[in-house]
């Protein structure tokens, strides 16, 4: 293995003895685990940035800091800007932020290690150690190759801090998707907002929507506004209605209107329903993505209906029992366990627990939240006029609304 800062001190020499200093290397990120070196850049005698394909290298010796090519004159001049999938090691990756997925951390690529992979020279690892800095500054005299804290490149995600850049190369391998959404959200808090937005563009939509939901509110908004419109709307449609409403509620009115116009009808209706209640009320922190079932159904019928309905919503611990689906007046609650264990022939109304705590939509959010927490409930149904079921304050929403604003940093952390 050879370190990249060492390569930058090498010269290319051709058969006629002409020589030039290597200025950069490009790699192809679309390729498997270790991106192979594609081209070699240097500044020729006319002071132009030129490149040669890596295949033109006929031999060389890292120790003597030389690479041999047939003819330096064959180098193609032209813009430094490489094709979309190639990135330049010095310009783009060296010193940039990389995500080390194995150690779940963000680090700067203090140096890069290259080595053989699949018979070609390829990028093998990012070096985040302070020794690497020392080595670069001392031009190789100090901090020589311990290589202790290398991040194997197959576990590294590289970000450019540019959402469009990533989209152009969207089909390169998305290693970040190996992590859990919560882990990705936490990592994204430690990087600049443009990098975090880029990260979302690298993820499949359902995962990206989960990650977006788990970010802190401020970061959520920053990132959401950086996404291009179609992706933003797709993620909003996939998010739970309360997350969507929270996000839309923090947009400027005109932006919010456009969002709500363009969301799929069902999601827009749910979000609007939630947005009607002010921030600090039970209605303002509830979700309306519930499962409910009419009390007149038998258990067998209810199971059939629920088999379909349970696919969608986020919160499924309780199934609320209503008088009929239109009026939706709350009668009681059954748990999934009740439904599984009950006799097929009995009616839902006989099995349900009619003792339910409820709260009005305009009750103070803190009051509703403390009821959830003090009574150890998973959720507290919110009912409107004539007992109509409007939504439920879940335990998550309750904790988030009464915890201090920086509760995420106090709460146990997911990694390391």
């Amino acid at each position: 293995m050879v370190v990249f800062s060492e390569i930058l001190r090498c010269h290319v020499i051709d058969a006629r003895g002409a020589r030039a200093r290597i200025s950069d290397l490009s790699v192809d990120l679309a390729e498997e685990d270790y991106p192979p070196v594609m081209r070699l850049f240097f500044i020729n005698a006319e002071k132009q940035h030129v490149s040669l394909p890596w295949g033109a290298v006929t031999g060389g010796d890292w120790r003597r800091r030389r690479l041999e090519v047939a003819d330096l004159g064959a180098a193609r001049a032209g813009p430094l800007e490489p094709p979309a999938l190639e990135v330049l090691l010095k310009r783009d990756i060296l010193d940039a932020l990389v995500l080390d997925l194995q150690h779940r951390r963000v680090a700067r690529a203090n140096d890069l290690w290259l080595g053989e992979a699949g018979g070609r020279l390829a990028l093998r690892a990012a070096d985040a150690s302070l020794g690497a800095v020392l080595r670069r500054l001392s031009r190789g005299w100090l901090g020589r190759g311990s290589g202790a804290s290398l991040s194997d490149w197959k576990n590294v995600e590289f970000l450019r801090g540019d959402t469009r850049g990533a989209r152009a190369g969207a089909y390169y391998e998305r290693r970040i998707a190996r992590l859990l959404p919560g882990e990705i959200a936490k990592l994204s808090e430690a990087i600049p907002y443009l990098h975090a937005a880029e990260l979302l563009t690298l993820l499949p939509d359902p995962v990206a929507a989960d990650v977006l939901e788990l970010m802190t509110p401020e970061r959520q908004l920053q990132v959401f506004e950086e996404l291009d419109e179609s992706q933003a709307l797709r993620l909003l449609a996939l998010a739970s209605p309360d997350t969507a409403a929270d996000l839309v509620g923090r947009l400027a009115p005109e932006a919010a209107r456009q969002c709500l116009e363009r969301l799929p009808a069902a999601q827009a209706r749910r979000a609007i329903e939630l947005l009607r209640y002010p921030d600090a009320t039970a209605g303002g922190i509830m979700t309306n993505d519930l499962v409910y079932v009419a009390e007149s159904l038998t258990i067998a019928e209810a199971r059939r209906v629920l088999a379909v309905r349970l696919r969608e919503p986020d919160f499924v611990y309780y199934v609320y029992v209503v008088d009929d689906e239109e009026a939706r007046r709350l009668r009681g609650v059954v748990t999934l366990r009740d439904l599984l264990l009950a006799d097929e022939g009995s009616r839902v109304g006989e099995v349900m627990n009619p003792r339910v705590l409820t709260v009005g939509p305009l009750a103070a959010a803190a009051e509703a939240a403390y009821q959830v927490i003090e009574n150890h409930l998973a959720a507290l149904p919110v009912v409107g006029q004539e007992g109509r079921l409007l939504g439920a304050v879940t335990v998550d929403a309750a904790v988030a609304s009464v915890a201090p604003p920086n509760w995420r940093s106090i709460a146990p952390r997911v990694f390391s």
Binding site: D95, L251, P253, L260, L330, G360, A363, G387
Partner: protein, 469 residues
Amino acid sequence: MNKSEGSETGLPGSDPTSAVEPLVLPTSPRRVGGGVRLNIRGRSVRLRRLRRQPTGALRWLLLLGPGLIATSAGNDAGGIATYSSAGARFGYDLIWVMVVLTVSYAVVQEMCARLGAATGRGLLDLIRERYGVGWALFAVCVIMAANGGVTVSEFVGIGAAMELLGFNKYVVVPLAAGLIWYLVVFGSYARVERVFLLMTLVFFAYPAAAFMARPDWGAVARGAFVPTLRGDPEYILLLVGLLGTTMTPYIQLFQQSSVVEKGVARRHYGPERLDAYVGAFFSNLMSVFMIIATAATLNAAGRTEIGSAADAARALEPVAGPAAQALFAVGLLGASLLAGAVLPLATSYAVTEALGVPKGVNLDFRRARVFFSLFTALVVAGAGLALVPGLPVIQMLVAVQVLNGVLLPVMLVFILLLINDRRLTGELKNTRLYNVLGWGTFAVITAAVAFMLGSQFLDSLGIRILGDR
């Protein structure tokens, strides 16, 4: 609030259909106003969760933040000393420098804010990524040394101000350090910003002192708008000193990093630039008031030698009365407290950005260990050293000025190159006018720094290019 609404509404379960009592709703629901009426898909709905954008004065007030804080922190103990001696020594003659400088100052601060919003990264982040680890470490080392020195002088300023107000500095300085530490370590960015903004109100002590001194406003106007240049070596050195104390690298660092931490996104940047402009204008206006206050009193009374900010306050007492002294002391206290927090913060931002480790007031010790350790170390060392008797503060500040002088042109070049890099800033790239003003500022600052360093170097060799002082 109707109590029954939230209470248990269960009945014995014998008749399941009537198990849940019809809910008793509050007869008169809490008045809920506000929200925004929107027309969505042809339906008009009132969405109370939405907030109408603040309008009028409130809107502009809410924009204030990083810019005002950064530039106000620049009017610290060292700044007060320089402005006071400019007023004491040359009366109103040097005010024009501050007027001209305001434009440059606003331009530089705005570029930093824009760079922060456009990239989401701090200045050292960008220097490291674009110009490599060598430049980044050079900047970090100079920043550590210079800011460390200035931090000590801020705590000396806190101590001096409190002694003028009749307190014991051995009690007050550790207390102030503790407060600053607690605020930053346990506060969120939003809270820290709010406290810092409140602290800038202290600067209104200077206009009060200036008005109390009953200056000759005609002479003030002449000094502000009619540039005078003198061959007097002291005049030129003070002029250069005014440039140097106003434009300091840490102010730029803090501006950019705190814009990033405030979470200003590039698409919302437009109105945010006002913060940088207001900051530059406000802080220079306060500097002008310091010059006026000392010019009308000390200069008129022939007391022209001012060594430090506390000196200025002390000198004011016999000339302008105890009220003027108290106002100066309060101003010094506020400025030193603010700068005593901002400097360690700016340093911590710079170092963590260069290393690429987690940073930010919003995090906590566990998640941003380097950031908070460094901050703690700087505050503790600053306050501790400030209490050492016989510390050569003036000599230290001279050394710091040399370091900052070396760093400032380098930083300005980086700022100008980065802001003009379309791959980074895109739409928010500099306009031509900005480039002219930016590079013009760079040229003047570089000349001034070269002059200052040159004269100091020759001075140390015993050669005085400007004749005897």
